[in-house]
Subunit: 141 residues, 2 copies
DNA sequence: TTAAAATACTAGTAAATAAGTAGGATATTA
DNA sequence: TAATATCCTACTTATTTACTAGTATTTTAA
């Protein structure tokens, strides 16, 4: 059963990735993608792509070269699930017409019911996810 | 901004469709797809496909032949958003591994954190959507 | 009676997206 | 200086989405 369809493997793996990386925050030691690769069974090349959004958001930083890797620089206690899921997603809005960049006017009414509903759902989700932090997720491990 | 990616046009249109159909519950008069087609700008052939899940779930019934169409037979006061969104979705589970039919054992741990998280989110969503009814949506129209 | 208007069912298809692969460049350090 | 990392970008394959199309069946208004 699902509400928004199956979570893509990309999202699934991105989440697994960030959970792995969280280790490095307390260790203060970089984790390399080759380590994660062998633990998670995902190719390094693919992990490189998955990790990028987190780096761009300054949740992690990279250390190049031998014995390098990635270190989480934001406290997992301050990283909300909302933030993570936001980064994992590449699409702008739940409904296209909720997106501010979407200026092509909707074919339908200005006051689209469908739009309102998806907006409502999204708000509820935001509220929920904003209260769960990465640190809590790790504890349940 | 989104949590589960952009809502597909199919879902968007399915929702618009069921809202249109709700009219027929009080009217007790069938609404034809050709009417909805011209109102919503969606082809009849496509609407035929979108409407099927609702029919199978006995939310609406059909009346064939001239002056026929579809009539909603379940009270909109008793149709929750959860039910609707469930029907709109075709995929089994938020995360594949949450699906009971998914017997191919997960590559990963039995106790997958990612799985737990998506499961949590889903439960929260269910609770939220189960409290909103189609009738309320129509009132906000 | 019959033509029009509706649903019912199934197959096919073009476009977009997802999910990765691949290759090479650059940086760092043991 | 060789090994081991990240970085960057292009390409490819498979799947999914969003339809279209055709045909059969049913019903009823004229």
């Amino acid at each position: 059963m699902s509400f928004f369809g199956t979570i893509s493997s990309k999202k699934h793996n991105s989440l697994r990735l960030i959970i792995q990386l969280a280790q490095s925050y307390t260790d203060k030691k970089p984790v390399s993608l080759s380590e994660i690769s062998s633990e998670e069974g995902i190719s390094i090349k693919y992990l490189e792509q998955l990790i990028m959004p987190f780096k761009r958001a300054d949740i992690i930083k990279s250390q190049r070269g031998r014995s390098g890797g990635y270190i989480m620089i934001k406290d997992p206690k301050k990283i909300s699930l909302k933030e993570i899921i936001w980064l994992i997603n590449d699409s702008p809005s739940l409904a296209i017409c909720l997106d501010k960049d979407y200026d092509k006017s909707c074919n339908y009414d200005h006051n689209c019911i469908s739009k309102n509903i998806w907006g409502k759902i999204q708000k509820s989700m935001e509220g929920f996810l904003d209260k769960i932090y990465l640190s809590e997720i790790l504890e349940n491990k």
